[in-house]
């Protein structure tokens, strides 16, 4: 049991009120960072947050444990649909195709090929990075990594990963190890546009300007963004908001995205370097 709640502080009350939305990834970047900062300082609220996260995980296990349909049921329904005539068929497939082509033209993808990617090696062709995924990562980089008051480098290993659960801490350390010369700045879970993500911030060697900051963004496996991008994403880079985003889907369904001010080649190399390390450190939940 955590200590009985004594809301000494208006800040605690405010954080507790928003804690569930924070855990659900529904708060704005600013608000979730306010909460993150508070959780770093306040052991009681941190304990409450951990307890709620545990309850959430248990609820997910309990309520999500539902058996699938019996064998044959899917085929029965499919057969029924095939017998059911359509009233007003439309040529929507063409529309979809047209909008995809238009979208690809406007955003100007750079498609890269890659031999060693875990997903790409299985998939047929390497295709463009999903636009929503790229925007999402670039925005988070802009609003969190660049707008936040981060130190030049994390003061200590403890300051970098001490507050994280062991799995995420290992992932953050693994990512840094795979990028020699890059300095660890911060690692945390944050929320952006309804997605809870794991965010690692690094700094390029000898670059103390905001342009030296690099974000590694890892989504949750079943998240809406990962699901949306899953159908199309293998590997790609894209320029968004003036940054380069390189991203890929790990074998457990998470998206791993790297955002930097460097060029495409460099950003892709970073993404290639961190993906296997992150994938092995973060087991499928």
């Amino acid at each position: 049991m955590t200590a009985p709640l004594q809301l000494r502080d208006y800040a605690c009350a405010k954080v507790r009120r928003r804690l569930d939305s924070y855990l659900a990834g529904e708060l704005s970047v600013d608000l979730s960072h306010e909460i993150l900062e508070h959780l770093d300082r306040c052991p009681e609220c941190r304990a409450e947050s951990d307890a709620r996260e545990k309850l959430r995980a248990s609820f997910r296990r309990v309520a999500g444990a539902t058996p699938g349909p019996r064998d044959g049921f899917e085929d029965e329904v499919r057969a029924l649909l095939l017998r059911t005539p359509l009233k007003r068929p439309i040529g929507a497939g063409l529309l979809l195709a047209a909008s995809l082509v238009l979208g690809a033209g406007v955003t100007g993808w750079l498609v890269l090929s890659r031999a060693l990617a875990p997903e790409a090696s299985r998939g047929a062709d390497v295709v463009a990075l999903d636009a929503t995924a790229a925007d999402f990562a670039a925005l988070n980089h802009k609003n969190c990594a660049r707008a936040g008051k981060w130190p030049r480098q994390a003061a200590s290993p403890e300051a970098f990963t001490g507050h994280l659960d062991p799995r995420l801490a290992a992932a953050a350390r693994a990512a840094v190890e795979r990028l020699p010369g890059y300095a660890p700045v911060a690692a945390h879970e944050c929320a952006h546009a309804g997605e809870m993500i794991f965010h690692i911030i690094l700094r390029r060697p000898s670059d103390e300007t905001p342009d030296g900051l690099v974000s590694v963004v890892v989504t949750r496996p079943g998240s809406a963004l990962a699901a949306r991008a899953a159908a199309t994403t293998r590997l790609g880079t894209s320029r968004r908001l003036g940054y380069t985003v390189a991203g890929e889907r790990a074998s457990d369904g998470r998206l791993v995205l790297v955002v930097s001010s460097a060029n495409e080649r460099e950003t892709t190399e970073m993404e290639r370097a961190v993906l296997p390390a992150l994938a092995s450190a973060i087991a499928v939940r």
Partner: protein
């Protein structure tokens, strides 16, 4: 799947779209139906009706938007009709629970929680609370998507979810306390020798 390999008839195209956008969610929708209806036979009826309606109205589905949420919206709609045919739940229960939640000050959430305790807490929740928690935490829909599925304003989603979460915590605290009473453990404050 070639983008430019145009199928022969419009109906074929719709079928192809349906296969790509809706069908992959079939098993998930069945499981969601089972969580709502609780009995496999009723879940089958529900899932079949959802896909039948989705198929018939697929022309109205806006391509490229969230098909999964669209199917859930139909599921909730069909389920509403199913529930309405049944004997309604006594009106008082939900209101009372809500009153109790409002009055109770939030105690800390227990740190040691067993799945069995959560399972019994889940059973004790009102169906309204159980459903919205499942949409948010199991199906991982955003507040906005839940508001589309349940056809309620986003503010209602937020307040209902908040009540549901605090009801769940309260129930878990209740079962955890009961478990602790039966467990052979020294009392927390000093206790008897």
């Amino acid at each position: 799947m070639g983008l430019f390999s145009v199928p022969s008839t419009p109906a074929d195209r719709v079928r192809e779209d349906f296969d790509r956008e809706a069908w992959p969610h079939f098993r998930e929708i069945y499981r969601a139906a089972l969580r709502l209806a609780r009995r496999p036979a009723e879940a089958e009826d529900l899932a079949q009706e959802v896909f039948l309606q989705a198929w018939k109205s697929f022309a109205r589905f806006e391509r490229g938007t969230n098909c999964r949420a669209w199917l859930y919206r139909i599921l909730w709609n069909v389920n509403q009709q199913r529930v309405r045919k049944k004997v309604p739940v006594p009106l008082g229960s939900d209101g009372e629970a809500r009153l109790a939640e409002t009055l109770a000050a939030e105690e800390p959430t227990p740190t040691e929680i067993r799945d069995e305790e959560v399972a019994s807490a889940l059973e004790a929740l009102s169906s309204e609370h159980r459903e919205i928690l499942i949409l948010s935490d199991v199906e991982e829909f955003s507040y906005k998507e839940i508001s589309t599925i349940l056809r309620v304003p986003i503010g209602t989603v937020m307040s209902r979810l908040s009540r549901a979460r605090s009801a769940l915590r309260q129930k878990v605290r209740g079962t955890a306390a009961a478990t602790a009473l039966f467990a052979n453990r020294p009392a927390a404050e000093g206790g008897t020798p």
